[in-house]
Structure formats: structure tokens, C-alpha cells
């Protein structure tokens, strides 16, 4: 804890006080609390969660930093509009039950979003405490950390299952059990609808389980949430691949409404020579083997190559997850190969920071040309070319242009490709009446209604690869539209 904050402990920090009773000046004097974390060296060999979470004392201090702005910009920065000052002020007052209630009114998976949202570009990015004044940049309130704190408290202390709503007599099928599908299922069951979730895998959670690693989001948190939904009456059918086991038109016939939330799960490869050599993975395959199939566990039966020198191509959250996983699987050299510069890295700031702490190297302004292999077709290197930043492109980011003659081979035995994902046509190709945009994503109106009456969609399969909070936001918003749609149906 910083010395700066110690002076105010007499009034705040040690005891819960309504925020209004602490003078602003005193609140301003408390500096941002650091998240306790596992040591970088120790953790780069285990899959235990890196962030350990606030204790009550740290949470109080952090909550008391909130200035209760009249115009809370943080709320505008939140894609689902969580009433942030309301939940934080309850933490400050010591009313955690009240805080949890305010938080969960807009966000059904706060234990997840508190861990994985890119807060620095959302809520915390708008916090005036993070502004630069007279050349000094402040530190925003740790909204994400507080969110996680309240969610973890609620998981232990708020265990009651709400009384089941009277049955509406309507049946809804939800396709996909990622954040969008789970959120929608939770909302729909509250209205008394009979909800069945169809999931292609043998386990629920979508990217939260097969993509995001244990050290960042313990699976327990997702499973806890799924258990709650099941207790509330949601049915989950695993191994049900829509487009194969059932088609979308079949589901539409059997259910009054369908919510399609299948994510954007198709991997994109680099399309360079050598990509079929042994030791080249898509991030999807690499992470699924490790996370969903438990290849990192001693008794996991699914194998994964644990390379000693692993090159991960890409700069997003997926790339950071893959490279940090490689370190934990025993890679001595784990390097990010990214064609733009550090400033353009799309990953969450905390992920980049943690990766660096864990000894991950970054090769910026570097683009792969070819995967190099030996006689038995095992990967031995990644031939790359250096880039420099040119004119800004359509996205406003400066376009990387190759530096002639800068080719070199990065020695490695494993290459993980994490340069994006696309829409999987498995479901959509069996639904001819479903309108898609030119990238294969489902077209919907503002309410999430697709071109097929009674079929709604949300999450990554509508937006393209986006974020957990946006997928959840869609689940919540579109389930409202589904409820209204069902209420408008003639009584049968």
C-alpha cells in the first residue's frame, strides 16, 4: 500500500463510511490500490489465477477513491450501462449485498467481466481520476477490480435461487452457451419461459471455457454460473451441433423462438507456405487442447506439443493467452510476433503487462513470410520481415509497410497463429432464409431479430469477434425483444 494513502486511513479505509462523508480532497489523496498477484516467476509455471483479488480493506480504500461525479462518464463507457457509482458507493459503505444487487441488475456475469473486460478503454477510460492534469496522469478508480471483488463476495454469500416464475407456456431454444447464450437463457427463464440451450461441445461456456485460460478466468466461475442457471430450470443439451444434429429451421418449428449465439469460431490462418508443418497450431486448437481438454493437467489425455521456443503471431487477447500458455507449458522462449507497434496492440493492457512480467518477448513491426521446417516436417523457424509504419489506413492506425531486405528466420519449434476468427458457416448454411452480411455474420435489426421470424441472434456471430461484455449485453437486450415477441404471439 502506498504511503500516500496511509494518512487517510483514520477516516477511511478501515471503516465503511458513506462516500459523501469523506471530503473530496481526502478521497483524492488515496492512490489506486494495486491488485495482489502471484509472483511472476512462480506463476509462469502454473495455471493458478494470476490476480488474487482485493481483500476487504483494499476494496474499501479503492471504493473510497470514487468522486461520485454528477455526470458519471464511467457509466457511459460501460457497454451495458452498469450503475457504477451506485455499486461503488455501496462498497464504500460496507453494503456488499446492495452493491451486488446494483451490479447484477445490468451484468449477469460480473465475476467474468471483472476479470476480462478491457476496462482501460471502457469504464476506467472515462474516469476523471485517470485524466492528465498539468502534465500529470492520474489513475482511474479500479472499477474492474471492485466489480470482481463484489462478484466473488456474492458468489459465496448470495446463494439463494429466485423463486421460479409462473410458466409462460412458451419454449425458447438458445444455440450456444457462450456469454451471449448464457445471459439470454438466464433472462428468459426469469420470465417463465421454458429454455433449452444447445451446445456443440461437451461442456458449457464457449470462449470463456475453451479460449480464455484458467490463469486468467478460473473455469469454476463459469461452472458456478451455469449451475445457477440449471437450478433455475434452464436445460442444456450438450453435443448438439446445430446445422448437423438439428437444423435451425427444425429448431424454429419445435420452439416458439430461437436465439442464435454461436460466436465467431472459425480460425484464420496466415496463408503462408509451411502452415501444414507439424508444430503449427491455430490459437483455437492450441487453447482448446489446453483449456477445454485439460492438456495442461497431469491426467489430461489430450496431447499438446509443449514447445521450447514458441512464436505466437498476433497482438490481441487471444495471442496473449496463447503466449502465456506456452510459457506455462514450459517454453523457454515465448515470443509475440506482431506486424504493428506496441501502441497498436489490441490486447488488454493488463494482459500485455502480465505477459512481459512473465518473460514473454515481443517482436514488434514483424510480419511472418513462411514457416520453415526440417526433413521430417517439424517446425524449425518462422521466416519474418521487418515492417515500418506508413500512412494511416481506414481504421486510422498507421499501416505497416515492409522494409526491403530485412528478412530473417526466428528459430522456434511451435507456431501459434492468433490473427483472428471468422463466422462458422456450419449453422447458417443449413438456414437458407437467414440473411447474412458479406462476411457471413447474421444480419439483425436493432432488436436482434433476424430475417427469419422468431429467430434472433447476438454476440460474436452478429458483431464479428468482439468482447464478452458486448456478447452479454446482446444476450440481455435481445432476450427482452424475444420476451416481447413471445408476449405478442397469439395464445395457442
Amino acid at each position: 500500500m502506498s504511503t500516500e494513502s496511509e494518512g487517510v486511513q483514520a477516516l477511511s479505509g478501515e471503516q465503511a463510511v458513506p462516500l459523501g462523508r469523506i471530503p473530496t480532497k481526502q478521497r483524492l489523496a488515496i492512490s489506486r490500490q494495486t491488485m495482489p498477484e502471484r509472483g511472476a516467476e512462480a506463476r509462469s509455471h502454473t495455471f493458478d489465477e494470476v490476480n488474487l483479488g482485493f481483500n476487504a480493506q483494499i476494496a474499501l480504500l479503492e471504493a473510497q477513491r470514487c468522486l461520485l461525479c454528477k455526470q458519471p462518464h464511467c457509466v457511459k463507457g460501460c457497454p451495458v450501462g452498469v450503475d457504477i457509482p451506485a455499486f461503488i458507493s455501496r462498497v464504500a459503505e460496507g453494503d456488499l449485498a446492495g452493491a451486488a444487487e446494483r451490479l447484477m441488475a445490468c451484468n449477469t456475469l460480473p465475476g467474468v467481466t471483472g476479470r476480462v473486460c478491457p476496462q482501460e478503454t471502457q469504464c476506467e477510460g472515462q474516469c476523471p481520476r485517470g485524466a492528465t492534469l498539468r502534465g500529470v496522469t492520474g489513475q482511474p478508480v479500479g472499477i474492474g477490480y471492485l466489480e470482481r471483488y463484489v462478484a466473488d463476495w456474492a458468489a459465496v454469500n448470495v446463494t439463494g435461487i429466485p423463486e421460479p416464475a409462473p410458466s409462460s407456456g412458451r419454449r425458447v431454444a438458445v444455440v450456444g452457451s457462450g456469454p451471449a447464450g448464457l445471459t439470454a437463457a438466464g433472462e428468459l427463464v426469469k420470465h417463465g419461459h421454458d429454455v433449452t440451450v444447445f451446445e456443440a461441445f461437451h461442456s458449457p461456456g464457449g470462449v470463456l471455457v475453451y479460449g480464455i485460460p484458467e490463469f486468467r478466468l478460473p473455469k469454476e466461475i463459469v461452472h458456478r454460473e451455469v449451475d445457477r442457471l440449471v437450478k433455475q430450470g434452464v436445460r442444456i443439451e450438450y453435443n448438439a451441433i446445430i446445422g448437423r444434429t438439428f437444423t435451425l429451421p427444425e429448431l424454429r418449428k419445435d420452439y416458439d423462438a430461437v436465439f442464435v449465439a454461436v460466436g465467431a469460431g472459425l480460425p484464420v490462418f496466415m496463408d503462408v507456405p509451411g502452415e501444414n508443418l507439424k508444430g503449427v497450431y491455430s490459437a483455437n486448437e492450441y487453447l482448446t487442447r489446453v483449456n477445454l481438454m485439460g492438456a495442461w493437467m497431469p491426467d489430461g489425455e489430450t496431447p499438446v506439443l509443449s514447445g521450447k521456443r514458441v512464436a505466437v503471431v498476433g497482438g490481441g487477447n487471444v495471442a496473449m493467452d496463447a503466449v502465456r500458455t506456452a510459457r506455462r507449458l514450459g517454453a523457454k522462449d515465448a515470443v509475440i510476433v506482431y506486424r504493428r507497434s506496441r501502441a497498436e496492440l489490441p490486447a488488454r493492457a493488463e494482459e500485455v503487462h502480465h505477459a512481459e512480467q512473465e518473460g514473454v518477448r515481443f517482436d514488434f513491426l514483424t510480419a511472418p513470410l513462411r514457416v520453415v521446417g526440417d526433413d521430417s516436417r517439424w517446425v524449425t523457424g518462422l521466416e519474418c520481415r521487418r515492417m515500418e509504419l506508413g500512412e494511416p489506413d481506414a481504421s486510422g492506425r498507421r499501416r505497416p509497410v515492409p522494409v526491403e531486405g530485412s528478412e530473417f528466420v526466428l528459430p522456434c519449434d511451435t507456431v501459434v497463429v492468433a490473427i483472428g476468427t471468422r463466422a462458422n458457416p456450419l449453422l447458417t448454411s443449413t438456414a437458407p432464409d437467414l440473411n447474412l452480411n458479406r462476411w457471413g455474420y447474421i444480419e439483425t435489426d436493432d432488436e436482434g431479430h433476424s430475417s427469419m421470424p422468431g429467430v434472433f441472434a447476438g454476440g460474436d456471430i452478429v458483431r464479428g469477434a468482439a468482447t464478452v461484455i458486448l456478447a452479454m449485453g446482446d444476450g440481455k437486450r435481445v432476450s427482452g425483444a424475444i420476451h416481447r415477441y413471445l408476449e405478442g404471439l397469439p395464445v395457442s
Partner: protein, 275 residues
């Protein structure tokens, strides 16, 4: 949960399991497969849907024990359950409408050929099957295939049928002429050899590729194979491809990716069994 209704030994290392999977039995078409996960912690492995009984709501799997996961599955008894059976996956076989088809099966590949031969015969195509095994006891599904047309059996040691490889018999059939399409399924070298036999005759040859799979839905790319120079996913674009366009070297090479893990896992399993 999928209960095992029947279990039968077809050859020294090939077992048939008849398993509850009513929805899959209802919608599956020939050429499709399932992904099976025996229970918590187990691998997901692809297995062809060899036959179905819609009324009983069951599917037949014919499994050759080659490694840890397949040994575990054939170690189950009637009445035991398999936790996960997902499917049907893959594109159904493109069945020709009429004419003469030759169905070539090597080893457990004969089980993959059987539903194709059955469907072809049902749609009025003349079917000749060429099946092989090391010796008599390794030949499977001969009786079943006889219901679809002529069957030529080849054994390596000549203990049953003709002595020699299926490729020799296939070559002879092709020489007689009038073959419209060849379906060949078995070990990679056998499928490659069959494709080479038919190439000079210009006979369309379909093979079923057994690449390593994980999800079976197109989301991992691990099953990618090189077809005419382009990457395709065996689980969704296949598993059947034009044998004249397949890069068999790359396929057999990729199949060795996890050899060390596999050998270790199998050794450990067999050690457990003995203990």
C-alpha cells in the same frame, strides 16, 4: 449418456459397439461420423457411423484398437455408457445415381466402406467390393458386404480369398472396364496406392481421410489436409475427398504429430491392464 447395447469382436483388434444415439440414428447419412468422448478427461476421437437402427435408436461403431482411447472404448462392456457422442459430422457421401462402383476396404476401412456400399446398392448402383486383411481372421464385414454385390477378398498370406493386396484386385477390376467410381478407405498408404491404380484409368476415386480431429465442427483447423494445393478441413469439407488431389505425404506426416504421447499413453494403459 449413451448406453452400449451390444458388443461383438469382429477381428483380433476390431470390435463393434452398438450404442444408443436416437437423434443421430434418425438424421445420419452414409459417410458421416461422430466424435466420441468416453468420459471425463478422455480425448475426443472421430469414428464413422457404420450402421444405424432407427427403430431401436442405435448406431454401430466399429473400432480398431490402436491406442489409448480406442483400447479404452473397446474395453467397455454391454450396459456401460459412453458420456459423449456428438454428430452426425462431416459431409455425407456424394452417391452416384447409377452405374458401377468399386468399394475398396483395408483393415478397419472396410467398416467405413460398408455404409457407402449399402447406400449405393440401395440406389441401384452395381457394387463390387474389394476387401483385405493380413489373414483370414482379420477380414471383417464380408457377409454384410455380400448383400450389396460381389465381394473380392484378399489376404496378405493367402489364408483366405486371394493372396495379395487389394490394389492388385482393384487394378484387375479397372482393366475389365465399366467402373464409374472407386471408393477406397483404409490406412493412408493403401488409399494412396488405390488412387495411383485408378489414375491411369481416369476413374474418379473417393477416399475418406482420417486426420487428427478435435471438435469436428471447423473451429480448430487441426484436421486440415492439403487438397490440390489448398487447405481443407477434413471434418467439415470432408472426410471424403478426390484421391487424385490429396497430398498423402502431408496427411501421413501430420498423423505422426503426437506419436511420442501416443506410445507413452498406450504403454501406460497396457501396463495398468496387466497389473
Amino acid at each position: 449418456m449413451h448406453k452400449i447395447r451390444e458388443k461383438a469382436q469382429l477381428s483380433p483388434n476390431v470390435t463393434r459397439l452398438v450404442v444408443d444415439a436416437p437423434r443421430i440414428a434418425e438424421v445420419r447419412r452414409p459417410g458421416q461420423f461422430v466424435i466420441v468422448r468416453k468420459g471425463p478427461g478422455a480425448e475426443r476421437i472421430p469414428l464413422t457411423i457404420v450402421d444405424v437402427d432407427r427403430e431401436a435408436g442405435t448406431i454401430s461403431l466399429v473400432i480398431q484398437a490402436v491406442g489409448k482411447s480406442t483400447y479404452d472404448l473397446v474395453g467397455l462392456a454391454e450396459g456401460d455408457v459412453i458420456t459423449d457422442v456428438a454428430g452426425p459430422l462431416g459431409r455425407p457421401t456424394d452417391l452416384l445415381a447409377s452405374g458401377h462402383a468399386v468399394c475398396v476396404g483395408g483393415g478397419v476401412g472396410t467398416a467405413v466402406i460398408w455404409p457407402i456400399a449399402q447406400a449405393l446398392a440401395a440406389s441401384g448402383v452395381e457394387v463390387t467390393s474389394v476387401i483385405g486383411g493380413r489373414s483370414r481372421e482379420w477380414v471383417i464385414l464380408e457377409k454384410e458386404l455380400r448383400t450389396t454385390g460381389e465381394v473380392i477378398v484378399c489376404t496378405d498370406d493367402g489364408s483366405y480369398g486371394r493372396k495379395g493386396f487389394v490394389t492388385t484386385a482393384l487394378d484387375e477390376v479397372c482393366r475389365e472396364g465399366g467402373v464409374d467410381e472407386v471408393f477406397a478407405v483404409g490406412p493412408v498408404p493403401m488409399m494412396r496406392a488405390c488412387s495411383e491404380v485408378t489414375r491411369p484409368f481416369g476413374v474418379k476415386t473417393t477416399v475418406s481421410l482420417n486426420s487428427i480431429m478435435l471438435d469436428g465442427t471447423g473451429m480448430c483447423g487441426g484436421c486440415r489436409v492439403s487438397i490440390d494445393g489448398a487447405s481443407q478441413y477434413a471434418c467439415v469439407d470432408g472426410p471424403e475427398f478426390d484421391g487424385h488431389l490429396v497430398d498423402f505425404d502431408s496427411l501421413s506426416d501430420r498423423l505422426t504429430t503426437y506419436r511420442e504421447f501416443e506410445q507413452e499413453a498406450l504403454a501406460r494403459r497396457l501396463a495398468c491392464q496387466e497389473a
